[in-house]
Amino acid sequence: MAEPAGLLPGDPRARLAMALILAFGFAAVGQVGTVPALLALALILALVAGQPARLLRGLRGPLVLAAAFVLILPLVSGATVLWQAGPLRLRAEGLEAGLLIAGRLLAIVTVTLTLLATLPAHRLAAALRGLGSPALLADLLLLTLRYLDEVRGEILRARLARRLRGGGAGWRDLPGHGAMLALALIRSQRRAENIWAAMRLRGHAAGLAVPPPPLGASDRAGIAVAAGLAGLLLLMDRVA
């Protein structure tokens, strides 16, 4: 499958390894001072990959969550009051924690989306298996992703069907939505099971496929760069 890989390695295994290394590295950052470097790194990676529209779409949810951390934590946690207006008190420790959590969250999501969002689920699962994780785990991931996909589709279809027949929208018709959701979950599960059967019928996990070739030079370089960057970041974090 041709995709605009840009400067990133094309092998799904390499991408997965890079994403894991960077995500764990980012998660280990403990100082607010490192957050700008964290975000800069994620941003550069996203620019190198060059799919801003897709990235922005994927970041909508995490952005809201990150904003919530930054807005709420300073109000509720910490002792050092930075600023006060009536009952509102902004505290330094809360602000710091909020920025740290939000920064790590956004950086991790950005890197994961950049490296993995263009990979279809079955490639991702194959990559997991290629990296030596147990086949069961990889298949579980595959089925989960597929299941979520089906659930989304089912919910969209059901919502449309409800609307077309005059079903209410919004909170007032919560029971109706609940029933719809339950039905969507059941339907999706059946479909995911069928897909699983269809895949196995066509030899999925039968162990006959030619093993993937060893990682190429650019793939290995990508992993090395990711490891180097994560290491550098953690070093900065310790020194700061």
């Binding site: 479909r191 059967a197 269809a198 030899g203 006959l208």
Partner: protein, 256 residues
């Protein structure tokens, strides 16, 4: 003629439920094309799933080419085309999806590409290889499923309601495609005209048992038998009787 597919005392059940079908003895010769008919819920799909090794036999056994079909064990000699194309297509592009099976058979590189191209061509999809599967039409999706199975070169192909939800032209195209295959076919369908065109032999199941097994025209044309199992004689056969045409003519006309 040595049977390609043989079942002995086969019973099929969904987990934790009484058997949907039981005591099935049937044999298919190589290259035979058999239509599987019966009312809704009679167990056509269930039988196909069991013959393909998705559902384990509750009793009895299925043999393919002399070897037992074991549930859950990959057997490239039998291919199943699911009723709903969405259950079967899961790769991003058509060519990817068709390559899935052969790749699992150990094909790679040029051999894999040739196998994919061949299957796409047979199914009239050679122009659409790079198309995302969700952007195929209903008829194309159906043929894509068949291509994905054909690419594994199975000896036996099982098709579940292949003409369901197809328009006239797509249906005609599907019939032409299936009529041109060398594989042994078992086609479960409510589309009796399709079965009449495609399958010289018909198996009628109802209420857990095989109720008739024989030449398609005799079974599908037997008004009493068909009515007893909630079916109607297809128009092509009914007309040939009323008008007193030779049946052969009516059928040859339908197949042209």
């Amino acid at each position: 003629m040595r049977a390609l597919l043989q079942t002995v005392g086969l019973a099929v059940a969904w987990p934790g439920q009484p058997p949907v079908l039981s005591g099935l003895d049937l044999a298919l010769g190589p290259g035979e094309r058999v239509g599987l008919v019966g009312p809704n819920g009679s167990g056509k799909s269930t039988l196909l799933l069991s013959l393909a090794g998705v559902l384990p036999a509750a009793a009895g056994a299925v043999h393919l080419g002399g070897a037992p079909v074991r549930a859950g064990v990959f057997n490239p000699a039998v291919g199943l085309v699911f009723q709903h194309a969405e259950d079967q297509l899961f790769c991003p592009t058509l060519a990817d999806d068709v390559a899935f099976g052969p790749r699992n058979l150990g094909l790679a590189g040029a051999a894999l590409e040739a196998r994919v191209a061949e299957a796409l061509t047979v199914c009239g999809l050679s122009e659409l290889g790079e198309r995302p599967v969700h952007r195929l039409s209903g008829g194309e999706k159906r043929r894509a499923c068949i291509a994905g199975v054909l690419a594994m070169r199975p000896r036996l192909m099982l098709l579940d309601e292949p003409s369901a939800a197809l328009d006239l032209r797509s249906r005609r195209r599907l019939i032409r495609l299936l009529a041109g295959l060398d594989q042994t076919l078992m086609v479960a369908s409510h589309d009796l005209d399709l079965i009449l065109e495609l399958c010289p032999r018909v198996i009628l199941i109802d209420a857990g048992r095989i109720r008739a097994d024989g030449p398609a025209r005799e079974i599908l044309g037997d008004a009493a038998l068909m009515a007893a199992h909630g079916q109607e004689v297809p128009p092509a056969l009914a007309r040939s009787r009323v008008a007193g045409w030779p049946r052969e003519r009516a059928i040859a006309g339908g197949a042209a």
